[in-house]
Symmetry: C2
Subunit: 345 residues, 2 copies
């Protein structure tokens, strides 16, 4: 049934063995850098490998129980710079590691996530990088039980490696900044609320409000999903309010772009009429005009560190769990201003 796939007669461990006049397990040993091999033998084998242009067959190797030298990465999608920045960080670390990257995007198919995990877990990959899982419960137990190395990026998890940022603190700081600028009515557009970081950001916003004795007006909290469109729609609702906010804090930069777009289309100006703050600090944030004030997450760094941790755990499973939390940083640019008197009519 399968279409004839011309089986290339690649050079295998057996060819090398014959060439070097040793058994093929010896070849395997030198390939795997075993300690006790007569230097002379090793040299002979290495010469043979060189001569024949031997390249290990990863599938066979990992089928037989070895490592595949592949790091699997599960990510929702590649659409926004948020995702891309993380991937870049991962890639950078992969590049000097001897591992390869297998990238799987799940694209809103929750079911696919578990299938992928099973496949990757079955030895296709030696470890897993999971960005913002959507269906973790479905396979976390499995992973843990198999003691399969993995690290969660931007998602909290019990008893497993995680790399995240201080979402709560970042949201708190941004809200505080707006309050200290003089804003009293601050709109908030949430992220996809089933995601932990979205919840933390909301909580940070609410706490800051309360700490400053401000009322948390439910009218001023609008459900979003991190995407541009949701910011756009949210701000339109805000603008239609009897008493619209003088500032809007969006749960992501993409969302903030939507807010800015909505404000501008409605004939208002950012920041003169409405201040806008984002979250993430993706590259576009500083290209936008006005340049976006936002909470920076070290996205690339996160990808990089997560990869490092994963590889360490692959190579030494006895290592203790790492739970890293990066601080966030408020990057003040041009999208916020103190509210003017006229806004408080």
């Amino acid at each position: 049934m399968m279409h004839e796939q011309p089986r290339p007669n690649n050079v295998t461990i057996v060819d090398v063995a014959r060439e070097a006049n040793v058994s093929y397990s010896t070849v395997s040993r030198v390939v795997n850098n075993f300690p006790y091999i007569k230097p002379e033998t090793r040299e002979r084998v290495e010469a043979a490998m060189m001569k024949l242009g031997y390249v290990a067959n990863l599938k066979a190797r990992s089928l037989a129980g070895g490592r595949s030298q592949i790091v699997g990465m599960l990510i929702y999608e590649l659409d926004t710079s948020y995702h891309v920045e993380i991937v870049k960080g991962v890639d950078a670390e992969i590049a000097n590691s001897g591992y390869d990257l297998m990238l799987s995007t799940t694209h809103k198919r929750k079911g696919k996530e578990s299938t992928y995990v099973t496949q990757l877990t079955q030895g296709m990959a030696d470890g897993l990088l999971i960005v913002l899982p959507r269906n973790l419960e479905a396979y976390k137990g499995d992973l843990d039980q198999k003691r399969f190395p993995y690290v969660l990026i931007d998602h909290p998890g019990l008893g497993c490696n995680t790399v995240l940022t201080a979402n709560w603190q970042g949201a708190y700081d941004a809200t505080k900044y707006l309050i200290e600028l003089g804003h009293r009515r601050i709109g908030f557009v949430t992220g996809l609320i089933e995601i932990a970081s979205a919840q933390d950001r909301l909580a940070g916003y609410q706490t800051a409000l309360r700490d400053y004795g401000l009322w948390v007006d439910p009218e001023l909290i609008c459900k979003g999903d991190f995407l541009e469109q949701s910011g756009y729609e949210a701000v339109l609702k805000f603008l239609a309010l009897a008493q619209p906010p003088t500032a809007v804090f969006a749960s992501s930069d993409m969302c903030a772009f939507g807010v800015m777009k909505g404000v501008q289309e409605a004939g208002w100006r950012v920041p003169e009429d409405i201040s806008v703050v984002g979250f993430d600090d993706i590259p576009e944030a500083s290209y936008m005009r006005p340049r976006l004030t936002t909470v920076r997450q070290p996205l690339r760094r996160m990808g990089q560190v997560a990869t490092r941790i994963l590889i360490e755990h692959i190579e030494d499973p006895t290592l203790p769990i790492s739970q890293i939390e990066f601080p966030t940083e408020l990057i003040i640019r041009e999208s916020c201003l103190a509210p003017t008197e006229s806004q408080f009519l």
Copy 2:
């Protein structure tokens, strides 16, 4: 030597066979959708697979000669949106294809490229997407001889699948646009000149100049490498000329950004003092201020189409070669103006 990797007792084809009371080759057959199976048997096997939660082991499958359902992608790096956009296109197509993506970045290590190819070629992947190869000669023969499916993206190749854009025409059009605006001294920053598309763009620029009876001044052609820094350095040289150009055409948008930066740092303005045109139309081009006039390449589309072609060739190796050339499109935004009299002192 390998660290103990807890062998998870995953459910295999054998378990399913036992459960369904058939031989395991029968299970293999239903998994592979063989035509002649008693419907009843098929149902029984399917029920067993469902019950046990069977997921095929891709390594074993492809080791045994089947397909791996993996598309390999070889790309120089992920640093610029140029690369990222292509990857996004690939990913989009992969998403509804039943294949997975294995992404390998070569990161300036020419040697690595061939090793990757060998590995991917050995069955790790069923086909290869190669973006802007740097070392094609080293393995093209091998690929062709093995009749291994692959498609070249943004690189010409004899007798193989390619997806590229009309680089020459795009450069010609952009140069023509500048000339018709009234520019007579037009600087050009090349891309990495060993890359075919960089050569084509240079040629398009030169031809347009000649067609309009303009002299191709070697002083006005500066070697670059597609990256921002090279545009920056080039424009500084141009500005130091006795008679600087009134417009600069950069071989990529990133490079154009560098040009804009250099112009601005030198205290000049874009487009009032110097017009700038880029190539690619990456998303940042429209975020920049002034928004960049540039030659659009349908990057995502290219990735998508290349993937489609590859998959078709994987599934039917008898298909004829496809060589696709997308047209380019000059996107006129805000970075160009007709030169003023004062510039012709």
